[in-house]
């Protein structure tokens, strides 16, 4: 084959281009620290990284959700403990008063304390945490409990419904709806946790709700009816038990949330590591490649002066 000058320069230029193209790619990767800029640089890694990225974001959403559920749960526990303590205290007071050895003025001071306790309980049941009324079910924007006076009698309203009325058969549907109403916290794909305790679960519905019992106890104390006092005190004990059992379920939910938090934490870690592996360059390997390529490029450059310039003309 005849070798002509144009052939040599053509071939040389093409090879030089390829060498510098590779060098540019390596230096770009080194400078940016990213293994690829476009999917076509490494289709498998790039598309995997996109899915891992979406998964990672989903895991973060679950983590946020679990964190906020945990915070609300902790506040719920605190408030329920407060309310339980208040109910226990009124039970003790009722027990004390039913001994029947107290004078009317002493009974009146017990009444005063019970009035105090009553408003404390309603206040606690309207606890706001992070702008959310935690005992309001889905209603997080306005105080769930409200005391209205009807026919000279105090009636407790929950989300606009009288809780006395809610126990009635005709209101069953509304009751079911209210008790099932809550903010869902997603904690995994298709997995939700209901951490909210409804105010009506706490207070009970119908005539023998905590609020009514306290009111009844107060009027019994005022009329010094020891039989009634004993009756209502016994009812308070039942309420106390209900609250303790609610506290028990909250503990179980707390454990479940801890378990999910730990699992999501490990998911987050795995996805983050995987994302890093997929998208960032192996610097050591790349530097070695870069150095080798630089050598090739320099060799190609210096060969130019022999290939391109030298002809027989120079030696004649």
């Amino acid at each position: 084959m005849r070798i002509t000058n144009a052939m040599m320069t053509n071939t040389y230029l093409t090879n030089l281009n390829r060498a510098s193209g590779k060098l540019t790619q390596y230096s770009q990767q080194l400078a940016s620290g990213e293994a690829f800029l476009r999917a076509s640089d490494d289709v498998t890694a790039a598309t995997k990284s996109m899915l891992v990225y979406a998964n990672l974001s989903r895991v973060k959403q679950y983590q946020d959700s679990v964190e906020s559920a945990k915070a609300i749960l902790t506040q719920t526990e605190t408030s329920i403990t407060e309310i339980t303590n208040l109910v226990s205290r009124s039970y003790e007071l009722g027990l004390k008063a039913s001994n029947g050895v107290y004078s009317q003025s002493e009974l009146e001071s017990i009444v005063q304390e019970l009035l105090e306790i009553k408003s404390e309980i309603v206040h606690s049941a309207n606890t706001i945490f992070a702008n959310v009324y935690i005992f309001g079910g889905a209603n997080t924007t306005s105080a769930p409990f409200e005391i209205k006076v009807e026919d000279g009698k105090e009636v407790l309203y929950y989300n606009g419904y009288s809780i006395d009325e809610l126990a009635k058969e005709e209101n069953k549907e509304i009751y079911e709806k209210l008790i099932g109403d809550h903010i869902i916290h997603p904690i995994g794909y298709g997995e939700n946790i209901n951490i909210s305790v409804n105010g009506i679960e706490l207070m009970g519905v119908g005539e023998d709700n905590t609020f009514n019992i306290l009111n009844n106890l107060i009027s019994a104390l005022r009329s010094a009816d020891s039989e009634k006092i004993q009756e209502y005190t016994a009812q308070l004990q039942n309420k106390q038990d209900t609250m303790l059992s609610i506290q028990g379920t909250l503990g179980a939910k707390q454990n479940r949330l801890e378990y999910y938090a730990a699992r999501l934490e490990s998911d987050n870690y795995n996805f983050t590591v995987r994302y890093g592996d997929l998208t960032s360059v192996d610097t050591t390997e790349l530097i070695v490649k870069y150095t080798a390529q630089e050598l090739v490029y320099r060799a190609a450059l210096s060969s130019a002066k022999y290939i391109v310039l030298d002809t027989l003309a120079a030696y004649l």
């Binding site: 598309t47 979406a54 959403q61 989300n159």
Partner: protein, 482 residues
């Protein structure tokens, strides 16, 4: 003794001079694009009168020229496709911070935030803003693709004009070469080089076949119809045809004078056509992976997002506000078409006006909302679950979920780009080999020309020496004798 020897010497001198001049011409054109080296044809003179100059001919292979042109067309097509597809990939911008996937992730994060606090106006406005960012990102890519498609169409028109111009040049050269070579002796070397250069350039734009006639003219065909023949140039014409993408402006179709479509199968223009019209393997038109294919994918994505989220959203209830007459509403779409059309696509997807007017119109709750019945987040959690589903369907097709689908588009485009790049490299190597093989024959080797020069100079010296000797002999004969 006669003067015949002097004549022989003279013919040697003249021939060597012509040869030296030709070698000089070769050396000076060593780097001229498309120059084919020339050589002097000599023959022994009749009646023993020394050497006779016949002609200066170029050394060039018709076969290798044709081979080069076929590969040149293929390379130009591969180059246009690699460039064009890479541009599409750049516009898609996956994976990066400004991509659809990223805006989708941000949108769902905002929905998740709202889900933790469904009545928060701040969280609601975040949902609307991130949704708008996402629809903008989709609209933006669609618009860029359409703009790029029309740029490609313009490029086709420019190429056609260039082909017509080059064809007229070739036809002109045909005429001049025929005239120049009419006596059958000299070859129009330089004109032929020019014509070959023009033909090489045409082969960059479109697949051509070149046939040389005995009179030195060439006939040029595209898909077995003549572009250039004895009668001159049959110019390519542009007519309009409907765009492969519904509702976008008409594109150019290349036809002959009588309206028959030009059968283009390679070259830059074919690369452009594949990019412009390629609707994928299942399409009824061009089956390459071009802009219409990826627009179709974007449309599917936009529709999947809009239809699936709307389905859930329209079953939910809004929070009463001044916009809805303080009554909780249902049946409201989250996404709508910009132009009010009922068909949502990548071109027109946006957040519906109702939502933008009042953020409380985001229907988070699956039950009627009023004073006693507050908003829950059941609709939002269902929307969030779309992120992970594997059976999101749109227009009867299961697309997995939004993330897997956009990843699939990216992966397809990435694969097509990386294949196009590999293809380009392969064609580059082949073209270089063919070009080198052609240059090996027609190219100038300066070393060779130097050796030739030495040889021609030596021949000149020898011829001169002959003349001196004969001169001396004549002197002896004329002056010393007698």
């Amino acid at each position: 003794m006669s003067f015949k020897g002097l004549q022989i010497g003279l013919s040697g001198l003249i021939t060597s001079q012509v040869q030296i001049t030709t070698a000089g011409k070769n050396v000076s054109n060593a780097n001229t694009q498309g120059y084919s080296r020339q050589t002097v044809i000599t023959t022994p003179s009749e009646f023993n009168m020394g050497v006779k100059y016949v002609s200066t001919r170029q050394i060039r292979s018709y076969l290798k020229d044709n081979h080069f042109r076929v590969e040149n067309s293929a390379y130009a097509k591969a180059s246009v496709k690699a460039d064009g597809l890479a541009t599409l990939e750049d516009y898609l911008a996956e994976p990066s911070g400004y991509s659809i996937n990223e805006t989708l992730v941000k949108f769902f994060s905002a929905v998740a935030d709202l889900s933790s606090d469904p009545t928060s106006l701040t969280a609601r406005s975040q949902v609307v803003q991130t949704a708008l960012n996402m629809t903008d990102a989709i609209n933006n890519i669609y618009n860029k693709y359409i703009k790029y498609q029309s740029e490609i169409d313009d490029a086709i028109v420019f190429d056609v004009e260039r082909i017509n111009y080059l064809a007229s040049k070739v036809s002109d050269l045909n005429r001049r070469i025929k005239f120049y070579e009419a006596d059958g002796k000299e070859m129009a070397n330089e004109l032929r080089d020019q014509r070959n250069n023009f033909l090489d350039e045409i082969s960059k734009y479109v697949n051509i076949s070149v046939f040389e006639n005995p009179d030195g003219t060439v006939r040029v065909e595209i898909g077995s119809r003549a572009l250039i023949d004895d009668s001159g140039v049959h110019e390519l014409q542009i007519v309009k045809k409907p765009n492969e993408i519904d509702g976008e402006r008409d594109v150019s179709k290349i036809v002959w004078e009588d309206g028959e479509e030009v059968n283009i199968t390679s070259g830059e223009i074919y690369g452009y056509i594949e990019l412009r019209d390629g609707g994928g393997l299942l399409s009824s038109g061009n089956t390459a992976f071009g802009i219409p294919y990826f627009i179709d994918k974007l449309n599917t994505l936009a529709r999947a997002i809009a239809i699936n989220i709307n389905d859930l959203h329209s079953s939910g209830y809004t929070i009463p506000n001044e916009d809805n007459g303080y009554t909780s509403q249902t049946g409201i779409d989250f996404f709508a078409a910009k132009d009010g059309s009922s068909y949502i696509s990548a071109k027109n997807i946006t957040v519906s006006d109702v939502i933008i007017r009042n953020y409380y119109n985001i229907a988070a709750s699956d039950t009627f909302v009023n004073e006693t019945n507050k908003a829950n987040n059941n609709i939002l959690t269902k929307i969030l679950d779309l992120q992970e589903g594997i059976d999101v369907t749109v227009d009867g097709v299961n697309i997995g979920n939004f993330h897997t689908y956009i990843t699939q588009i990216t992966s397809e485009l990435g694969t097509v780009v990386s294949e196009a790049k590999t293809d380009l490299q392969a064609h580059e190597s082949v073209l270089m080999a063919v070009e080198n093989s052609r240059l090996s024959e027609m190219g100038v080797s300066i070393d060779e020309e130097m050796v030739n020069l030495i040889q021609f100079q030596a021949a000149y010296q020898a011829a001169a020496r002959l003349i001196t000797i004969i001169n001396e002999n004549l002197e002896i004969l004329i002056n010393r004798m007698g």
